[in-house]
Amino acid sequence: MYSTATEFKFSDAKDHGALVRNSTFKSIGLPEALNRAERSTQREQNLQSGHEVYSSNFNKVYYRSRRRYGSGVVSLVDFDRGWKERLKNRFEELRNLEDGWDGYKGVAITGEIEAFTISLLSEIYDPRVAPPSLVPGGDGSLQIEWHVNDCDLEIDVLSPEDVFAYMINHGSGAEEEINIGENRRELSVWIRRLVA
């Protein structure tokens, strides 16, 4: 159901923006039950939301985004079953948000936001932590959230180069907000704080 490799990892590059730009495809696993008609509908929806279907092969579909960051190959292979299911199902919902979903002028999340988020999660993934909540913004951005172990951790992905993380420890009252582009290692430290 999922591709067999994560073909770009931000930890492999100093300039993750360049890496995304240079990558070629983005693949998103689809349920086996998805029939041809559903695939067609999915294709239309993705075209409208900025994805372009490049090709499909069995249960794997490749997309190419028309936006600035082009496209990439991402997969959920690095995650355990619980994470995979949660992320796969949630991204399908987020990808297919209708215009005005927030009661105003909200749009679906963009292709580059989705690709970046999956890659970021694969980099900071810790199987001891439950999968996060994914909350969309009306502007196509996405927030990754954990509220566990007396901590709130929120990673706001506004664009691949504009990502902020906020953490508050309710026990100590300590509160921090950082720009992820410069503090990626710090984020992994924060994730470990979520482990009970």
Partner: protein
């Protein structure tokens, strides 16, 4: 002309005329006592907080609605002035099942501003934005709005915070 009358005049004018008004005029029109409504989609704005053991609103519910980095709201008094029920009006879209309110004064406590910004399908539309320089609402500002809002249309089983 009193403030309410000026606001109604603005609402009846094309948007181009409103945007040509000075920032000072916008600030003047929306009084501190004005209640601002933010619509909530429970499927996407609600998260499960394991610390609380309950479902609650995400701070992302107070994020910019569009690329212009402004957060859309509805102006409660304007809706009432036109004889509408605010709770019914803001939940007309089928995917909206909740709404929260907060005072304009709360917005202004954190270097944010509010403006009337009628749009074709919503004459009671307004914006909350960073003042004086446009930019995203930061996490402290989003937290501030979440901490100071209350339900207009409550979602069963969901806490505000």
């Amino acid at each position: 002309m009193d403030k309410t009358a000026r606001r109604l005049v603005l609402l009846m004018e094309p948007k181009a005329n409103i945007t040509s008004q000075s920032q000072e005029t916008d600030i003047d029109v929306v009084s501190n006592e004005e209640r601002l409504i933010r619509r909530i989609n429970s499927k996407h704005h609600v998260i499960f907080d394991q610390n609380l053991g309950a479902r609650r609103l995400s701070t992302k519910a107070f994020h910019a609605s569009t690329d212009d980095k402004k957060m859309s709201v509805d102006l409660e008094q304007c809706i009432k002035n036109q004889g509408n029920d605010p709770a019914k009006y803001v939940t007309q879209p089928e995917n909206i099942d909740g709404a929260v309110v907060f005072l304009a004064a709360i917005v202004r406590q954190k270097e944010l501003e509010v403006e009337c910004a009628p749009v074709p399908d919503n004459p009671f539309h307004g914006n909350v934005f960073k003042h004086p320089n446009l930019g995203r609402l930061n996490k402290k500002q989003e937290n501030h709005l979440l901490a100071n809002c209350e339900w207009l249309v409550a979602i069963p089983g969901v806490r505000l915070r």
